[in-house]
Symmetry: C2
Subunit: 358 residues, 2 copies
DNA sequence: CAATTTTTGGCAACCGGTTGACAAACGCCG
DNA sequence: CGGCGTTTGTCAACCGGTTGCCAAAAATTG
């Protein structure tokens, strides 16, 4: 029998360390157990299983915990249970203000329900996105993908491992939150028709963007209904810069009204057209999408089809958290619900009556 | 002696579960060890301690790991080591675009160095901030506070437990990243002086804002140097709305040029003044701070003192990560370095020569 | 080729909670 | 007051890595 060398002595005797597990580190359930005079497992139950221990011991333990400033160690808890009270949000581009409100909505809901939000971006790349998602998988209970760029199969593959909610896209078998573009678009197109426009251009977004396709479809349908001509133009990237670049094509198209895939494109386009001497909206009407922060900073302020982005973020978070808790209780077997939110036209100064060419 | 009931059987036999630890869950180092024919601890070493095992076994283990699609379990790793490869970023307000670039900068740097960013906001409240910080403490290796609203002592208290880096504020004994306002401000004020202005108003930000105080000091100093009169006005909140509200006071002040605590205030102020029929910059010059996203969307585009926000974010992250690694190696005892970044004037259309009152 | 130093791999304890199985303590009944 | 069904608390295994200590193996040296 080997003589044990009192391994306790090897604990923490290094006073040099400033941070980390030095000194009195933090109280554990064992410390509480000692103070309260019960077994550690009883402490564990008192703290996580309501009603499992008697009111008397409960109080005893809670007092001890309070006295010791006890805080659960999330890792120790996560290890056996696999739950982390954390979920991930992956956005296509943190720079893009579209996602600001989504992030905010998700963050608020998360905090409210005692979850922590972990953020990552995919830089508009499907590959980066998949990597980020895989990396997160290990640490989160669920995932929200905002405007994902990877393909449906990848998304479903991830959804097989962990609950996933998708924003701004519909993926079969995965719960989604999508703004229903039709109302907003038809309002926009009707407004344009009423103002004497006949030809409408749509500036599309990234080719992989599901939402861009939906918007184009919506524009086509609405134009048909209002008997307007609709043409589609491509953009290089869905940013202010991309908007500037597409200005040539817009002028060449002969359209008197433009809807763009998003507000950034609209803003860039407007800047470029104005720089070339065109008057908005007298000579050309511009309508954006999303109603992002800053859409009303422009002169004239931007008319846009608003998506309730904050609502999308919080809706997705709510959906996900509900899913997580459902998963916990029963096995699974829920329907992949799609949450639809309404869009609406926000009429500002960048669209209006077409003045007869002077 | 109690007869053990082969507890292995209690493992996972529930096929109903869709997510979580069902079925073949994930490979562990034990699985790898079995495949590679070595001891689990050897696997652990091969995977985290470079050079600790022979090249031969290393390869053996790596192959097995690849074959099994092994991924470390971050919780299992965090439990004994206390390190999580995660750091927190707390911002005063997620809605405020000032923080977008900071978040982005920090996120980029984090990902680059294989860290994960966890985000939280304080809603401009010192109390909320402290709560958020405390909550994070348990899960992160370090913390970045962007424009913190809590007081110095609270910050130092937190910094005692975990490495902390502060952005947009100087706290004694804590590493900070602060834009040095002087260069940008003196450029701005000189430009205003050169354009015939004599009286400059400064619209201040939140009273607890360290940065607001610095900017006011800078404005005073620069005005004195240029022999301009400087007056200080208070805002209700540092947002577009707050800017609108302060417009009255600005007009009443008789100043012909205004510097505002941040761009949002400047934008709101400009909107309100223009709505009242004033012409910018002919009748009044407006200069903001930060050069946030959208500052150039306005008409005229906003002149502003740019802080390199993205740089602040990535700088803070770099500082923090260096700190973490230093902490790991030696005990501690580093000096609390302050990283200063330069500000510069971005001259756009909202400031210029004062036209004689017609 | 033996002696010694350096590598390398294995053992076992540990991080801090969670949880199934079980027994002690309790309340209730006839 | 004994039998019986509940509560309530304890024991011990487990989650998946990390790491100090030690011995076997390999490399170096005399």
């Amino acid at each position: 029998m080997t003589e044990p060398k009192t391994p306790d002595a090897a604990a923490t005797t290094d006073p040099a360390k400033k941070h980390s597990r030095s000194g009195k580190s933090h109280a554990t359930i064992y410390d509480i157990a000692k103070v309260a005079g019960v077994n550690p497992s009883t402490v564990s139950r008192a703290l996580s299983k309501p009603g499992r221990v008697s009111a008397k011991t409960q109080k005893l333990i809670e007092d001890a915990a309070a006295e010791l400033h006890y805080q659960v160690n999330p890792f120790a808890r996560a290890l056996p249970t696999g739950r982390t009270n954390t979920f991930g949000l992956i956005v296509a581009d943190i720079t893009n203000p579209t996602f600001f409100d989504i992030i905010r909505g998700a963050e608020t809901t998360a905090t409210l329900r005692d979850y922590t939000l972990v953020l990552a971006e995919s830089a508009e790349s499907g590959v980066t996105e998949l990597t980020a998602a895989r990396r997160m998988m290990a640490t989160v209970d669920g995932l929200i993908l905002a405007s994902p760029r990877m393909d449906d199969d990848d998304i479903r593959a991830i959804a097989r491992d962990k609950p996933v909610v998708v924003i701004n896209r519909e993926v079969d078998g995965v719960p989604c939150v999508v703004p229903d573009v039709n109302k907003g678009i038809s309002e926009a197109v009707r407004s344009l028709a009423a103002n004497g426009h006949h030809k409408v251009a749509f500036v599309a977004g990234p080719p992989q963007s599901w939402m861009s396709a939906r918007r184009w479809e919506g524009v086509q349908a609405a134009c048909e209904w209002s008997r307007l001509e609709a043409v589609r133009l491509e953009s290089t990237k869905p940013t202010v810069d991309g908007g500037r670049q597409v200005a040539r094509d817009v002028r060449a198209s002969g359209a008197t009204a433009v809807l763009t895939y998003n507000d950034l494109l609209a803003i860039g386009l407007m800047q470029e057209l104005q720089a070339a001497g065109m008057v908005v909206p007298d000579q050309i009407s511009i309508v954006g999408f999303d109603d992002i922060f800053g859409a009303d900073f422009t002169t004239p302020p931007l008319t846009t089809v608003r998506s309730p982005l904050g609502e999308c973020g919080s809706g997705a978070a709510t959906l996900l958290l509900d899913l997580l808790h459902r998963d916990l209780l029963h096995g699974a077997g829920e329907t992949a619900a799609t949450l639809r939110v309404e869009t609406e036209l926000v009429l500002r100064g960048s669209s209006g009556r077409l003045l007869p060419a002077g």
